[in-house]
Structures are given as C-alpha cells and as structure tokens.
C-alpha cells in the first residue's frame, strides 16, 4: 500500500499542498471557484510547519495501529478497505476531539467551519495520487510503497 513520504529537506514552504488539498476536498473541485466561494466551508487536511529555512508538510501518517481509530467514540474513524487509509466519516463524527488528543503527530485538526468535526487527510482515496503529492513543485512529498514491517 502506498503512503505519503515527507521530505523535509525539499519542502520550500510554499503551501501549494494546502491549496490543492482544499481544492480536492471542495465541492466544485475548481481552484478559482473553490477559493472564491468555498473558502469558509472547506479546510485543507495537510498542515505546513515552518520555522525559518526548515519546513515540511504534515498529514496523517496512516498508522498501522491508529490511535485515532482506537480513541474514536462514535466509530467515525475507520479504515478504507481499498487504500488502507484511515478516514473520518464526517457524517458520524461528533467533534469530541479524542482523536486530536491522541494523534502523536498532531495531524488532525478541528473543523469549526460548519458542524463541528475532526478533519484529517484521507489519502485522496477518491483519486490516483493525493493532491498534495501531485502538486508539490519541489517533490517535497512523494507517494511510495512503504515497508509495512517497519511501520507502526
């Protein structure tokens, strides 16, 4: 199964990953429409940490033993059979924030734009390649098969 690998040394902090993640999860899927009309309702699921020359784009690590799934009280966090991605079913999420409390990389955010739900990367399970990977101008994110044995 493929996972997103982060290359901190190539991240330039441009945040195009956030831009395209938002578009991929918008209703219109059109970059201009999404930003001009859906900005108040859609959140990117990738977040860029930056401090001077060091930066990287962080999203859900799709852990093998996901703490968020363990902690989810509503059963909204579940594993997608096809991609193996951990996805939050926002129609079942109640915004209790237990997942935020346990995610060791802090990849889950509060989505307070509409009904309160947890927002996290879903590996763009609906597309061939995650939007952030496809649009990073410096290959700071790649999509690769990871040695499952080495992962948690």
């Amino acid at each position: 199964m493929k996972r997103i690998v982060i290359h901190e040394e190539h991240c330039i902090g441009c945040r195009l990953c956030e831009v395209y993640c938002l578009v991929a999860h918008s209703t219109s899927r059109d970059i201009i429409k999404a930003f001009k009309t859906e900005r108040k309702t859609v959140m990117p699921r990738v977040l860029v940490e930056e401090d001077g020359p060091i930066s990287f784009a962080l999203q859900c690590r799709q852990c093998q033993d996901p703490s968020c799934l363990e902690a989810c009280i509503s059963g909204a966090m579940h594993r997608d059979e096809r991609t193996g991605a951990i996805i939050c079913d926002e129609s079942r999420c109640v915004g209790c924030w237990m997942c935020i409390m346990v995610c060791p990389v802090g990849a889950i955010q509060q989505n307070l734009l509409g009904t309160q739900v947890a927002s996290k990367c879903d590996l763009c399970y609906f597309a061939d390649v995650p939007a952030c990977v496809a649009n990073c101008p410096n290959e700071g994110l790649t999509y690769e098969v990871i040695d499952e044995e080495a992962r948690l």
Partner: protein, 503 residues
C-alpha cells in the same frame, strides 16, 4: 534625502479574477515584492523590487500573474537609451560600480546565428542515427603527433598520449564556484555529470566535502585566489584547471560578495566568513609564460602526471599567440571563454565592454595551433554562451574539441536570467547561500533536468551529424568546410575561416 530617479524595471500585472489570495507568491518572492493586505483581503505588489525572475509566475496555481517591462517611456533616443540613463541615475545616487550577473546582454553580433551547417544530399549520403551508431565520445588531453610502434607491436614512447578525460558527449559543465551558486546547484551539476558521463568544473570555490564522491567527474580549478586549494583537493578530481581569466570579466579577478560567504563557503574556500572574497586579477606567482609553465608542472608533479592540466583564459585581442604560449607551456587543455560568458558577479561595464566573442577567438586559436603544428598537443574547449546543440556543433566545426556550458545549465535548472545573482537572493535556489532559498533547487530534480538537457542535445547532435554524413564527432572537429556564413562581411568570414553561403 534627495529624490531617487530610479524607476521600476518591471511591472506586476495581477488578474484579480484569477487571484485566489493563496499567498504563494508572497511566500516565494525573495525580494518581498508581494504582500498580503489583511484589511482588503487581497495580495498587492511593490513593483520597484521586482527583478523579473518569474518565480511567482511559475508557482501561481491559477496563472494570475504576468510580469511586464515597465512601459514607462523616455523620448526616443538612439544614443541615450533608457538603460544608459538609468545607469547614470544609479551611479549618481550611489557612487559605486554597477554590478551585474550572468553574460553580456548587449546586442553585439552573435556569430553562431550567422553560421549555417551543411547537410548531405546526393554524394556522401546522410546517415540515419536511428540505424547506425554515432560516436560522440570525446577525449580531451595531449595527443601524440603521429602513431609509432616498437618492434613487437607496442606503442612507441613518443606515441603514448597524455592523460585523457573521456566524455560521452562533447559538452561539459563550465566553472561555477560553490559560493556563487548553492550547494544544491553544485550537487545537481556533479550528479548529472556522473549520470551522463561528462565533467563539471568546481570554479574557484574549492570542493565541498560532500562533493568529493563525484571526484571522477570533476575538474578542479586553481584560480588566482587559490581558494580551497590543498593536496587532497588536487588528488580528488579527474583534472585541474588553472584559471587565468574568464570571459565575462577579462583581466579582473573573481568576486563573491560577503553576503554569500557563509560558514560552509568559508570552510570550503578557506577564507573568513562574511568578508567579500575578491580574487586578485593576476595569479601573483604568474607574471610570465615561464611562470605559467612552472605552475603547470608543479600541478603535474603533485598529481603524478596522471591528470590532464587545463588552462582557462578569457578571449581577448591576442588570443592566438596567448593560446600558443599556453600549449607550449605544457597545458593539456586550453579553455577559451568568450565575452558572452556568464558570471555570478561582475562590474557591468567590464562584462559588456571587454573581451571578444568566442567564435572568432576559437577560429583564431585553432588556426594558429594548426599553423604551428602543435594542434595535437592540447585539446581546445570553447566557452561563452553555447545556447543549443547547433551552437555546440558550430563550435566543434570551428575547431573546438568540446564546449563548456554554464548559462544553459543554469537555465535548465530554473534560472530566468534576471541578472541579480550578485545579491544572493536567487529565487530559484541557484545563485544563493540562503538555506531557505537553496531548498528550492531539489538536487534530484536539478540532476534530472540537466541530464535531460544533455540527452536532448546529444539526440539533436546525432541528427545533425547524420544529416552531414558524419558518424563520429572527431570528423567534424575544425572541419570549417561544413560551415557557411550569412550576413557577414569578408573580414568576419576570414576571421572565422569560413566561406559565405552560396560559395
């Protein structure tokens, strides 16, 4: 404070129907041209600071930006152009030398664009490069005058060639120092040289420890400042090059502004941090051709005569006897850098007014060495703005064994020729030491793009060679008969040693 008469060179046009206020341009401009206005929730631009590097244009996800030349017009004047006026305004304000980067941008005649290559038609038919092997392999170094054998078939002593550099394609990456360009740019050049099977030149910045691994594909420079020159440096590489001058600024030394002398650069060059690194104009131990010979042989001794020694000079007025002297002094390779060659920093007035074009210099040197019967003693490398595979072939036809490219390589890596290298704020991560900017050139991508460029050129070279009925690049070397001039006067044709088209 008195009034400044400098006006913006460029104007930023933002299409508000396309701008999504993502602020990528704000983050990516090293000159802080774009900024976010919170009150209006929009991105605005300070045109004055724009250098026309197109970083923002390239990254804008909706292509909302266009950079145009400032349409501000002076009253038309063929002599006092806008550029001339601006230069004087600037100098009146600052009292300093005007600095610039990259190669001469003035409209001197470009001889490559006035020479055309031959093709086979009826006799001596073309060769199809898809069907028959094309030899682009090039060997640089001293060749024997003639073949001679001993009894028993072994090569006679006088027929043994000197140490050679083997190139898979007659193109190498020219000297660009670590300091003038970033470590990521150096990495890209080194890796691409290794991948393609050619060489890159360290320039006068010394060799960074992280690059010793590519030593087999490295030509190390010994320049007037002797930056980074120590015994390990000399022995780690495939060849050495004594840099007497470079085409962009003949007669003066290298110039690395203090902003670019970081701890890493300081260590590699063996100079103090933060101070301007100005190489002296001459080597202070080379004041005659005999002195040059001494240095050449000192380097050969230090490297056990195992590596070719190159001498690089700028193309100037008496280049032919200069080159002859260099070859007789024992150099295995002579590199000639024409006036359109690039640089990381040079006084504009020197870059634009000093030196001669590579095409005529090359022709003169090749002819003089042939006339003196010493053409085989050294290989000639032509440098100074080869922009395409056609320029490469024309250079070889004029007499070069191979060419050095630098500007083409930088452009391949993303350079947009904004000519602001000397500020150290290269938005493409190339001519900078700022770690934040350096990251923008991912060496994996840089290597890929450079290797792609050389691969594309080698395919084109094979096509053109095949078209000429030639299957080995050696056959084209100095073969002036494959060139014809257009739009040149007789003096120029004679200087190049070619006939006019139609003759």
């Amino acid at each position: 404070m008195a009034l400044s008469m400098s006006t913006a060179t460029f104007v930023v046009d933002r299409d508000e129907t396309r701008c999504i206020t993502c602020q990528v341009c704000v983050r990516q401009c090293a000159n802080d041209v774009h900024y976010y206005d919170e009150d209006g929730d929009r991105v605005l631009s300070r045109d004055d600071a724009c250098v026309g590097c197109h970083r923002c244009v390239s990254l804008c996800p909706t292509r909302a930006l266009v950079i145009r030349q400032n349409p501000l017009e002076f009253r038309p004047h063929a002599n006092w152009t806008a550029g001339r006026l601006r230069d004087i305004y600037k100098q009146a304000e600052t009292g300093g030398m005007l600095l610039t980067g990259m190669g001469c941008d003035q409209p001197y005649r470009i001889y490559w664009d006035h020479m055309l290559l031959n093709a086979s038609q009826v006799t001596n038919p073309s060769i199809d490069p898809m069907r028959e092997p094309m030899e682009l392999r090039t060997l640089l170094g001293r060749k024997p005058e003639r073949l001679a054998f001993e009894q028993g078939g072994a090569l006679a002593a006088e027929a043994v060639p000197g140490p050679q550099l083997e190139l898979s394609i007659p193109v190498m990456f020219s000297a660009m120092s670590y300091g003038s360009i970033s470590i990521n740019a150096c990495q890209s050049l080194a890796r691409a040289a290794r991948q393609v099977g050619t060489f890159y030149n360290t320039g006068e910045g010394g060799l960074h420890p992280g690059l010793y691994a590519y030593g087999a594909n490295t030509i190390a420079q010994v320049a007037s400042g002797r930056f980074g020159v120590h015994l390990d440096y000399l022995n780690a590489v495939a060849a050495l090059e004594i840099k007497i001058g470079q085409g962009a600024k003949p007669g003066i030394g290298g110039h690395l502004p203090g902003e670019k002398v970081t701890p890493d650069v300081s260590r590699t060059r063996m100079i103090p941090q933060g101070a301007d690194a100005l190489s002296p104009a001459p080597h202070h131990d080379i004041y005659s051709i005999e002195d040059l010979r001494q240095l050449i042989y000192a380097l050969k001794e230090a490297t056990h005569y195992a590596k070719p020694i190159s001498v690089k000079v700028a193309a100037v007025h008496n280049i032919a006897p200069i080159a002859s002297g260099i070859v007789r002094a024992g150099a295995d390779i002579v590199a000639i850098d024409g006036m359109r060659g690039g640089t990381g920093a040079a006084p504009t007035v020197v870059r634009n007014n000093v030196g001669i074009p590579i095409e005529v210099a090359l022709a003169a040197v090749d002819q003089r060495l042939r006339d003196e019967g010493i053409r085989h003693c050294a290989s000639i490398i032509a440098a100074g703005s080869c922009r395409s595979s056609a320029d490469v072939l024309k250079a070889i036809a004029l007499g070069a064994d191979a060419v050095y490219v630098a500007t083409s390589a930088l452009v391949a890596m993303g350079c947009h020729l904004c000519q602001n290298c000397y500020t150290g704020r290269c938005n493409w991560g190339i001519a900078t030491q700022d770690p934040y900017l350096t990251k923008r050139l991912n060496p994996n991508i840089g290597e890929r793009r450079l290797a792609n460029l050389l691969r594309a050129w080698s395919l084109e070279i094979k096509e053109m060679m095949g078209g000429m009925g030639i299957n080995a690049i050696e056959s084209l070397r100095g073969n002036r008969d494959h060139l014809r001039g257009v739009g040149l006067n007789q003096v120029e044709l004679d200087a190049l040693g070619i006939k006019a088209a139609g003759c």
